[in-house]
Amino acid sequence: MSNLTQIRDLTSLIAMVQGRYVHTIDDGDCHEWPDFFVDDCFYKIISADNYARNMEAGLMWMDSKAMLHDRILSLLEANVYERHSYRHILGQPFITSVEGDELESETSFMVARITREGPTDLFVTGRYVDRYRVIDDDAKLVTRIVVLDSNQIDTLLGFPL
C-alpha cells in the first residue's frame, strides 16, 4: 500500500469526482453521466446476494460508454414511468488498492426516491465497487459494480445509481 499522503490525495480526488457524479444524476444533466467513465468501461448493478454467489447477470449490464449513453437516451426519450428523481448520499471512498495509474475503491451509498405525488422513500442502499483510472487531475471509472444490499427493487429501476 502506498504512503498516507498519496492515499489521502487519492481519497479526496475520488470524493470530488463522486460528488460531481451524484450531482450530475440528482441535480444536473444526466446526459453527462457517461462522461464519468472510460470508453471501454464496465457498469453493472447487482444485489449483494447475487454478487456473493458470482451471478453473472445484473439489473443493468453494460460494457461500453456508448451503452451508458443509450441508457440515458432510452430513459429520457423512450421509456414510460411516473416522474421521479433520486437523491444519492455517499459515504467516504475507501481506497482498497493502487496499481500504477489505476486504483480500486469502495463507497457506501443510500439513494432516496422522490416520486411525483409520493413521499421521499428510501429506495436502495449499497456500495460501489470501483476501479478508477487517474488521468491528469481527474479520475474516470473503468469499472463500477453497484452492489445493492437487498435483492428487492420497489416498482422499477430507472435512473442510474
Binding site: 447487482i46 453473472e56 445484473g58 451503452m67 437516451l73 426519450e77 414510460v80 416498482t155
Partner: protein, 418 residues
C-alpha cells in the same frame, strides 16, 4: 378505505351476464377475495411453480420459496426424490428454514429444536422424555400425526411445481400438450444455469400483473423502446395460444422470413430512424440462433402465476406472488444454459438489459399495475372492459386481442367460484 372496511361490506356479485369481458375492480381490492384465492387457488387444485430443479442437485439441497403467500421448503431427499412442504414447524409454527438455500441433513426449529426430515416429517422432539422423569411430551403423542403440510411435487423440463391438493390432476394434464411443447421448445434437453435472481416489489394486486403479462395488445404501445429506436421494423408475424380452459397462454412473434426477402438487412434498418434517435451501441441487439424456428419472442404463462419468457436470447422465469390485496412480489430468475459459448453468454447478459425491474422493455410493467390500483380506488363496482378481439378465449394468429386475459378470468372464476 382500509382493508378492514372493505371486508365489512358484503362482497358484490360478479356481473354474470358479462362473463369474462368485464372485470369488476373490487376483485383487485378486497381482502375477502384474497382469502378465497388463498383457499381455492394457491392451496387448491393448481400447480404452483416453486423452483428450477438445477437448484437442488444433491441430497440435502434445499430452497426456501413461496407458494402463493405460504412459505415453502423444497428439498432433494436422501432417496433423490424432490419434496416440498410448508416452511413451518410442527410445534408452534416458526419458520424452519431461515436461509434462502443450502444443504442440510434435516430442519431443526430454532425455537424448541423440533426436528423435521428432508421429507417434512417430524422426527424429533427436544426433551421428549423430559429431564429426570419430569416434564416431557404427553403420553400417546404421535410424531407422525404432526408436521407441516406437504405438497405434491412434479417436474417438467427442470421446472419444479408443487400443489397442496393431493387430488390435483397430473402436471402433464394440467399443462396440456400445446403449453408443454412450448416449454420444451425453450428448456428441453438443456441444463439451465441461473444467471441472477431478483424480486421486484409491485404496488398492486397480483392479478394486475397476470393481466399485464397475458396482454399482447399493450406490448408495442406501452413499451416504446423498440419503436422509438425503430428496432422492430422487420415484418413480424405472431399470435396467441390460449389453453382449452383459458388458464394458460402463449404470446409469440417471429420474423416473417418470406416477407423480408428483398428488404434491407436487420442491421441497416436499425441504424436508420425516422425519429432521429438511434442506439450508439447496437451490440445490445445482437442475437444468436438458439431455437429451430424464427420465433423471436415467446411469453408463456401457466395458471395461476408462472411465466416463462423468451425475448430473443433472454430467457427468464417469473413467479407472481401475492402479498395481500395491494402488493405483490415478482420474482425474476435469469437463465442461461451450460452449453452456452462465452460469446452466447455475453449476448444473453447484454440482452438482460431488456428485462427485469430496470429493463428497456419491462420497466413500464413495474408501474402500470400501480396506476390501475390508484385509478380504480374509488370505483370498486365499476369494471374493466376486455373487448379486443371479441369476447372469446380462442387461440388466434394476431396479437391485437385480449383473449388470453379473458381466458385467465374464465379459469379464475371457475376455480374460485367468484
Amino acid at each position: 378505505m382500509n382493508a378492514s372496511e372493505k371486508v365489512s361490506q358484503a362482497r358484490p356479485e360478479w356481473p354474470t351476464e358479462d362473463g369474462a369481458s368485464r372485470v369488476p375492480y373490487w376483485v383487485f381490492q378486497r381482502e375477502d377475495v384474497a382469502e378465497i384465492e388463498r383457499a381455492r387457488l394457491f392451496n387448491g387444485p393448481v400447480w404452483n411453480f416453486l423452483t428450477l430443479e438445477v437448484e437442488l442437485e444433491n441430497a440435502g439441497d434445499f430452497v426456501a420459496v413461496d407458494a402463493g403467500e405460504t412459505p415453502v421448503i423444497v428439498t432433494r431427499g436422501e432417496d433423490g426424490e424432490l419434496n416440498a412442504f410448508e416452511n413451518r414447524c410442527a410445534h408452534r409454527g416458526s419458520l424452519l428454514a431461515l436461509e434462502d438455500r443450502g444443504n442440510v441433513k434435516d430442519f431443526t426449529c430454532v425455537y424448541h429444536a423440533w426436528r423435521h426430515s428432508l421429507k417434512g416429517d417430524l422426527v424429533g422432539v427436544a426433551f421428549k422424555r423430559g429431564i429426570k422423569r419430569k416434564g416431557g411430551i404427553a403420553d400417546g403423542f404421535e410424531m407422525s400425526k404432526h408436521g407441516p403440510r406437504k405438497m405434491r411435487v412434479e417436474v417438467f423440463e427442470g421446472l419444479v411445481f408443487g400443489s397442496f391438493d393431493p387430488d390435483v390432476e397430473s402436471l402433464k394434464d394440467y399443462l396440456g400438450e400445446e403449453i408443454s411443447q412450448r416449454i420444451t421448445r425453450v428448456l428441453g434437453g438443456r441444463k439451465p444455469v441461473i444467471l441472477g435472481n431478483y424480486i421486484q416489489v409491485l404496488p398492486n394486486n397480483w392479478k394486475l400483473y397476470v393481466e399485464n403479462t397475458k396482454d399482447s395488445y399493450h406490448a408495442s404501445i406501452l413499451h416504446t423502446f423498440f419503436t422509438t429506436f425503430e428496432l422492430n421494423k422487420l415484418s413480424q408475424k405472431g399470435g396467441i395460444v390460449v389453453s382449452k380452459n383459458g388458464g394458460h397462454h402463449v404470446s409469440h412473434s417471429s420474423v416473417d422470413a418470406a416477407a423480408e426477402k428483398g428488404k434491407d438487412t436487420y442491421k441497416e434498418q436499425k441504424i436508420r430512424s425516422d425519429s432521429d434517435l438511434s442506439l450508439s451501441d447496437t451490440s445490445l441487439l445482437e442475437n444468436f440462433k438458439e431455437f429451430g424456428d424464427d420465433t423471436t419472442l415467446q411469453i408463456l404463462s401457466v395458471f395461476p402465476n408462472f411465466v416463462l419468457q423468451q425475448i430473443q436470447n433472454s430467457i427468464a422465469v417469473r413467479t407472481i406472488l401475492p402479498k395481500g390485496p395491494d402488493s405483490m412480489h415478482l420474482k425474476w430468475t435469469y437463465v442461461g444454459f451450460e452449453e452456452d459459448t462465452p460469446k452466447q453468454r455475453k449476448i444473453r447478459l447484454k440482452q438482460s438489459n431488456l428485462i427485469g425491474p430496470g429493463g428497456y422493455v419491462s420497466m413500464e410493467d413495474g408501474c402500470i399495475g400501480g396506476f390501475v390500483r390508484r385509478g380504480t380506488i374509488g370505483s370498486p363496482d365499476d369494471s374493466a372492459v376486455l373487448a379486443m378481439g371479441g369476447y372469446g378465449i380462442e387461440t388466434s394468429d394476431d396479437r391485437i386481442t385480449e383473449a388470453s386475459i379473458r381466458g385467465f378470468w374464465t379459469e379464475y372464476r371457475a376455480k374460485t367460484g367468484l
